[in-house]
Symmetry: C2
Subunit: 555 residues, 2 copies
């Protein structure tokens, strides 16, 4: 095994159904269910007056003492990067004794295997179809990532406001249809979702119990220390289980090695994503108020599902079905009750269904429509799903749009403060600027699934091509300010090997929202996901890097 991100041995969390794979189209492990812009800086708007950071070659300083661990418990390999590191990181390469690293590596690998911090190994054929075989530890950072406490609190405070916003937007069918009207012409997948949405509108279908399990992703801009939103996930927010485990792993390591590391494990925030997601699902199940019903888990990830297990401890039965199986087995009663076999389905939890690849035939679309027609609580409904699209994110960032949905001016100001620059491609000034200075933009397609963002000179080329073609394809993209987060030296564990490299991080805040016709039942921040990615090139941001699970160390 050589350098992680360029290796052929890239790992993937495996899905049990081979026709659905979250990770098929990307080499970046933890770009996960949602594509994420991985870096950027200095948008050319009046709002953003950052300076592009100076790139200095610091290989000589940071890489002068390569750290090889010759023992069997994994080895450390060094990867040279060229970013300047402007803040004091936890993992200062020079401050660690190689023997200490060796012990941390060994103990953390053993911890992972004992606590279910595991993933399917892509190299093992059956790992994607049978749980419990072909497992490898999930990739993780050896130590937590420092993060300023003020911005951490800010991100947590935003969670219930975004929850409320999603709910309000989801109820404004015209806003969704109008915002996505041009996208509909350019993006077949969004178009199909909108068709189901329209049908529900026409039939007068209303969602009285609404459940959202969201994750809002942020990066911290190095120059301004502003917390800027990357995207808001309203479907299949990934890794609530594994993210909790990494926080536990890091707390355990910090406790065990407190004399050597001098770090306080209490500075790692408690991560309760799993239990709170389970609580939300269980509350939704109770709210449906039927004595015999089940929770259906639509396609399903083996190694990140602690919370469906937790649901079981609350006497909720979970069944797992693919979209195709639901099409084959699902029956809708006249009163809206959804039956699978003889079982009444109370809650439908989507672990897939957010990408075109999840709908290989008409069967899957029929299943999606069938579920949407039913009275079961959908997590998410079509409306929640559409509210999470990038185009809606960009529309919400326009002046005076938030005011259509929220009354509280403080809340609106808080949301707006975390918005990065977002533009439609019919904004000709911005497109002109992006052609001239593409390094300050990311082009994001509507298409989900990660790894599809466009960076650097490709932004210019793509924009020019779209101008020449004059087609509707431009409506399939938005432009976003490129964020340049702090780059810090980090130890990244993958496939039993410790890689020493410079990396950036992205913070996802999970949140749960549940309401019925009258009341909000739950509206909470629920733990977090920290992902740390190698920043190995200043061409194309860090899209090419590999990502590992991490935790937050408050500073």
């Amino acid at each position: 095994m050589g350098v992680g991100y360029s290796s052929s041995c890239s790992l993937s969390l495996s899905l049990p159904y081979s026709h659905i794979s979250c990770f098929a189209s990307t080499t970046t492990l933890l770009s996960s269910h949602k594509s994420t812009p991985n870096s950027s800086l200095n948008p050319p708007t009046s709002k953003f007056h950052y300076q592009k950071p100076t790139y200095t070659t610091m290989t000589a300083q940071s890489s002068s003492s390569p750290l090889f661990l010759p023992i069997q418990s994994g080895r450390v390999e060094e990867i040279k990067t060229q970013y300047h590191n402007s803040t004091k990181p936890i993992s200062d390469f020079h401050s660690f004794d190689p023997e200490l690293i060796q012990r941390l590596v060994y103990d953390s690998l053993v911890w992972s295997s004992l606590h279910g911090l595991v993933a399917g190994d892509k190299n093992v054929q059956r790992s994607g179809t049978v749980p419990g075989v072909g497992m490898v530890h999930a990739p993780f950072a050896l130590l937590p990532m420092s993060f300023p406490e003020r911005q951490w609190r800010q991100a947590c405070e935003l969670a219930p406001i975004f929850n409320e916003l999603v709910d309000r937007v989801s109820l404004d069918a015209n806003f969704l249809q109008e915002s996505l009207s041009r996208t509909k012409k350019a993006d077949a997948f969004t178009s199909r979702l909108l068709d189901i949405h329209s049908k529900m509108l026409e039939s007068g279908k209303k969602e009285e119990i609404r459940l959202g399990l969201h994750r809002s992703d942020y990066m911290l801009d190095e120059q301004t220390k502003l917390l800027l939103q990357i995207e808001l996930n309203t479907i299949s927010s990934s890794f609530p289980g594994l993210s909790c485990l990494v926080s536990e792993l890091h707390r355990s390591i910090l406790n065990q090695y407190k004399e050597h590391l001098g770090l306080d494990s209490r500075r790692i925030p408690g991560n309760t994503a799993v239990s709170q997601f389970a609580e939300a699902l269980t509350k939704a199940w109770k709210e449906y108020n039927n004595p015999r019903l089940d929770l259906i888990d639509v396609p399903y990830l083996f190694y990140d599902n602690e919370f469906t297990k937790l649901c079981n401890t609350h006497d909720v039965t979970t069944i797992r079905k693919t979209l195709a199986e639901i099409d084959a087995q699902g029956v809708l009663l006249p009163d809206g009750t959804l039956l699978i076999g003889n079982q009444v389905i109370a809650v439908i939890y989507f672990r897939a269904g957010y990408a075109p690849i999840d709908y290989p035939s008409e069967s899957e679309w029929r299943a999606r429509e069938l579920m949407e027609q039913s009275s079961a609580v959908k997590c998410p409904s079509i409306s929640y799903h559409l509210t999470g699209t990038k185009k809606v994110q960009q529309e919400l960032a326009k002046p005076n749009v938030l005011e259509r949905f929220l009354e509280n001016k403080e809340d609106i100001a808080k949301l707006r403060k975390c918005f990065a620059g977002l533009w439609s491609l019919d904004d000709s000034n911005t497109v002109k600027d992006a052609i001239e200075r593409p390094e300050f933009y990311v082009m994001k397609p509507q298409r989900e699934g990660g790894g599809n963002n466009i960076y650097g000179d490709d932004v210019r080329k793509t924009l020019l091509r779209l101008q020449v073609e004059g087609s509707e394809e431009d409506a399939a993209y938005i432009l976003m300010q490129r964020i340049f987060p702090t780059i810090v030296p980090t130890f990244l564990m993958r496939d039993g090997i410790c890689h020493k490299d410079h990396a950036i991080s992205e913070l996802g805040i999970y949140s749960a929202y549940l309401r019925n016709k009258e009341n909000v039942i739950m509206n909470e921040q629920c733990g977090y996901l920290m992902r740390t990615k190698v920043s190995s090139s200043n061409e194309g941001g860090v899209a090419a890097g590999f990502a590992v699970l991490d935790s937050v160390y408050l500073t």
Copy 2:
């Protein structure tokens, strides 16, 4: 993957140090650190008047409805066996709906991966050297094994008596040397242990703090329902961690499917082997009474080590060293203090060192002697180690020998009641009988490590060869009554596949013993290990079968 035990894909719990492997010489996974006779019946002594059970071909009945699970979550394959099943088992093949089995299989595999019920996959090269890579679920039974409550209590009650017996015998150096005097000539490994033992005697070395983490293994004779001891492990008693997990898995499955299975999870005894072993190690560490000291873990198994982790939570630092590393790094101070690096070693816990393969050079023997000379608490000392040999087991079964060590007549009667027939090969009447009726005996070599027992016609051939040769080699063996336990239909999970087969079980009772010069500090039963093995042939007992981890369901 076909039939488990004949497959090339046999699994092994991997050791991190490639030169030490507990499982190198056997295809039976859970025969573990100790060889175990796997079946037998009707010893030709007056004490045992059992009838050999009638073998009826019941393939037609039990195998008439092969149970194939065509889904991705593992499949069930049927294996035909020819034993008669005389008791009502939990896993009556006919009582289970295939779809229910499918759900149990899937959920238990996911549970395994989430809770560390994992092992190294032999097929993955690095699985033996790097933790966290090449993992597969540890083999386990899908459901617990029924076991009568009376015999369960009997086995638990025996634990502290055996603990006390081991301690007393270990103090009688002459008894150990005399009992093993002929074995010494025939078995080079035992000879080396005895040499160290003699040196300690000559130097007047005494062990004032004595720690034993034992496991006494039993089978239940089908005809008489007698609980008969197979062997007593005094070194490296394996699977305390994984056995606890399987009990938890089965409780979870019984709770989750209580309506379908109709089994009461409270009938599975609580399994606290891990926490009690950790407690004993920690108490030994405290007893050593040195403010700065460590616990040393001599070669080490990745996936069964919860309790070294637990020790860490008690502020005990554990370090892992191979015997060769201890030879290279260990320093003995004049006062008996053992140093590794600058660290004082308080407790030495052997996870290996019980088999010739663990001592590939003189370096390992020097390390063993160095540790024995030190004042560190050894788990086990050479004396405890020798007390666990088969020859000593056989000597203790002779008339009036127990009385040399124990005063309490009730205790003696309890121990004697669980002794199977055991004979030395210089007992010419027994050898004559074993040549005539080899099916009633097992020949057990001193050599440890599992898979070395001799069954059936091989007993006759080996005994005849030894008679012709007239060498001392006969002293390397003992003869033991062959026990014939109940055979029950079982679902066995291995490598993601559910095998439906007939199986037998062996119950190991863990126990911990700790004392200083004045007092017994701990003398307790500590959980259990249930191993279930395929009984696929009546040739050679079940030695050829594969074994899985199981739990007890009290009936």
